[in-house]
């Protein structure tokens, strides 16, 4: 993105106040149009950033933001010393790791396979079908998971029983939590994730393949030496963006799939902030947890971007 360079006002001449007034007047309507959006960002994005300072205070709803006393890093200390911290860190990182290992490559493989299909009607039909789940709400996805997997008449367990097996309580069994989350993600987003790769693949020059065929390359070689390199930069950009989300697992999905029996593996930073802040009212403490999460995310994005550049890739900045 062109403006992601973090510099402001590199205009050569310094503007005098009268020049500023003249330009404001000239573009009066432009600034009036800009105002609602600007106010939106200031109120709903920047006021909460300022409000995040309550992580260093003892915020009480009655005393308000200004009246609450400063406590420094107390909430952060409490959080890092809390035995829950390692449980949350483990659950969060494991889900992210599984996501990276099992979900991240899935759209790439799927796009490569789709790219090999030459009957365009067949390709379009498959694309139409596999994009559908992206638009379905997480509540519906979780609901479908429930009605299919429940031990009370769910089709999967009915099937297991009809084969003489013992029913498995997928929804409550902690061992099934992570596989279920990853499977849901693959089902919902794998097809949609192919779009960006298919777009990159559509831009590959056909002559490259023709030249490769002349050189005697088989389809495997063509895929390895032409198709895959052509989407390498896309893969790296997505990987960098993904790094920023390592501590975020998607609140809705985790929250919806969490229940009393699988809390031990299901509790992650995202849901912890909600439970501690909204359910239990520890505003300052949960803000500190959220702030920790945001900061790690920013550091990881910039860090992986730096690393990508170091290895000669283009990066996102």
């Amino acid at each position: 993105m062109e403006h992601t360079t973090m510099r402001t006002g590199t205009r050569k001449e310094r503007l005098s106040w009268s020049a500023i007034a003249r330009r404001l007047k000239k573009d009066k309507w432009m600034y009036i149009l800009l105002l609602p959006g600007l106010l939106y960002f200031l109120i709903f994005k920047y006021v909460p950033m300022w409000g995040a300072l309550i992580a260093f205070k003892n915020y009480q709803p009655f005393t308000g933001f200004w009246g609450s006393e400063w406590v420094g890093f107390e909430h952060f200390r409490n959080f890092f010393q809390n035995p829950d911290f390692f449980k949350l860190l483990r659950n969060t990182l494991l889900l992210s790791l599984y996501n990276l290992l099992f979900f991240f490559p899935a759209p790439i493989v799927l796009a490569l396979l789709l790219n090999e299909i030459r009957i365009s009607f067949y390709k379009r039909t498959i694309q139409t079908l596999i994009y559908v789940p992206h638009f379905i709400s997480m509540v519906i996805v979780a609901s479908i998971t429930y009605v299919l997997l429940t031990t009370q008449g769910g089709v999967v367990n009915q099937f297991i029983e009809s084969r003489g097996g013992t029913p498995i309580d997928f929804l409550a069994d902690p061992d099934w939590f992570r596989p279920l989350i990853i499977l849901q993600t693959i089902w919902k987003e794998c097809g949609w994730g192919t779009i960006i790769f298919l777009a990159a693949l559509a831009g590959v020059d056909v002559e490259q393949y023709e030249a490769a065929i002349v050189d005697g390359a088989n389809r495997w070689r063509q895929m390895w030496h032409i198709t895959l390199p052509s989407i390498r930069s896309t893969i790296i950009i997505l990987l960098i963006l993904r790094m920023g989300d390592v501590l975020e697992n998607g609140f809705e999905q985790i929250y919806l799939m969490t229940n009393a029996l699988n809390r031990e593996v299901a509790d992650v930073f995202d849901t912890y902030v909600y439970f501690m802040g909204i359910t239990q009212g520890s505003f300052s403490y949960s803000t500190a947890v959220g702030l920790f999460k945001s900061l790690v995310g920013v550091v990881l994005v910039f860090g992986s971007n730096w690393l990508a550049k170091k290895f000669g890739q283009s990066g996102i900045y």
Partner: protein, 294 residues
């Protein structure tokens, strides 16, 4: 890529590949098909048969049950209201902000753009946002579902880039003909941007219809629940093995069975499937406009 040697391994690969992708597509939509047919099946069929795709006895009992009280109607109404008003708000805010930002010579433009981009990287988090909405008095109002997400920074930048690429000559000639800035936006730019507006309108609308998180956070009053929250209460929290049916709406005290649950899921899914052909027409465009600059 149409020139492959017709070798034996190549043909084997093709057969495998076509089959595999066909199966994947089938597996993707199978849950939907099963839930739809299950919603018309009798409870007996659910408990006796391991798997079926066409119900033996066709019944509307599930639908009759869920529409027997007006709770479901009401929350569908809430969802429709929030989706319509929310999407119009989104488009209004996005367009009015994107248009001035598309003017490269506008003083202060870079500052505002940096402000927008930074908000994509870093956020104050859940709790400060919640406290803000609460202190604005928006808890338990539909504004809480509309205003906090009025502009998506990503969409804003894509729309801005689109405006920037419109031929400058058109706007210039309109201005020479005495059109005001607002007039140029309304008469020249917006008509040219119809496909983009349709794309983002649909994205925003689907986002509103599907949103569960904001309602969970901001709407405690059960009579104001949008469909997604009610869906969860009916389908998921009635799980007997999982307990917690204490906050169920009184009209649903009787635990809904499979047929009823599937009927509710169908009701929540059908609106999305109805707009899906339009979505499909536009979404690739939307995603790609975004990634060109990205």
């Amino acid at each position: 890529m149409n020139k492959h040697y017709r070798t034996v391994p190549s043909t084997i690969f093709d057969v495998l590949n076509y089959t595999l992708l066909g199966l994947f597509a089938l597996v993707t939509i199978l849950p939907f098909i099963y839930v739809v047919s299950g919603s018309f099946a009798t409870e007996a069929e659910h408990t006796q048969k391991a798997f079926f795709l066409i119900p033996e006895t066709f019944t509307l009992a599930g639908y009759q049950y869920i529409f027997s009280s007006n709770t479901l109607f009401k929350s569908i109404g809430v969802s429709i209201y929030v989706t319509v008003v929310g999407t119009l708000t989104n488009l209004l805010f996005t367009v009015t902000m994107a248009y001035p930002l598309a003017r490269r010579d506008l003083m202060g433009r870079n500052t505002v753009l940096n402000l927008v981009v930074f908000s994509m990287l870093f956020s104050g988090g859940l709790i400060p946002g919640y406290i803000l909405v609460r202190s604005l008095g928006m808890l338990d109002t539909y504004w809480a579902l509309i205003l906090p997400g009025a502009i998506s920074a990503f969409n804003l930048i894509v729309v801005k880039n689109f405006f920037q690429e419109l031929p400058a000559g058109l706007e210039e000639s309109a201005r020479i003909d005495g059109c005001t800035e607002i007039g140029v936006l309304w008469r020249i730019v917006l008509p040219l941007s119809k496909p983009v507006l349709a794309t983002f309108g649909l994205f925003y609308a689907v986002g509103h219809w599907n949103n569960f998180f904001n309602a969970l956070l901001y709407i405690n009053d059960a009579t104001k629940w949008p469909l997604q929250v009610l869906l969860r209460q009916m389908v998921m929290l009635s799980q007997i093995s999982l307990g917690d049916s204490s906050n169920l709406d009184p009209t649903f005290v009787q635990p809904p069975e499979q047929t009823v649950k599937m009927a509710v899921i169908v009701v929540g899914t059908v609106p999305i499937l109805l707009v899906y052909p339009f979505l499909q027409k536009h979404f690739a465009k939307g995603v790609l406009i975004g990634s060109i600059k990205g």
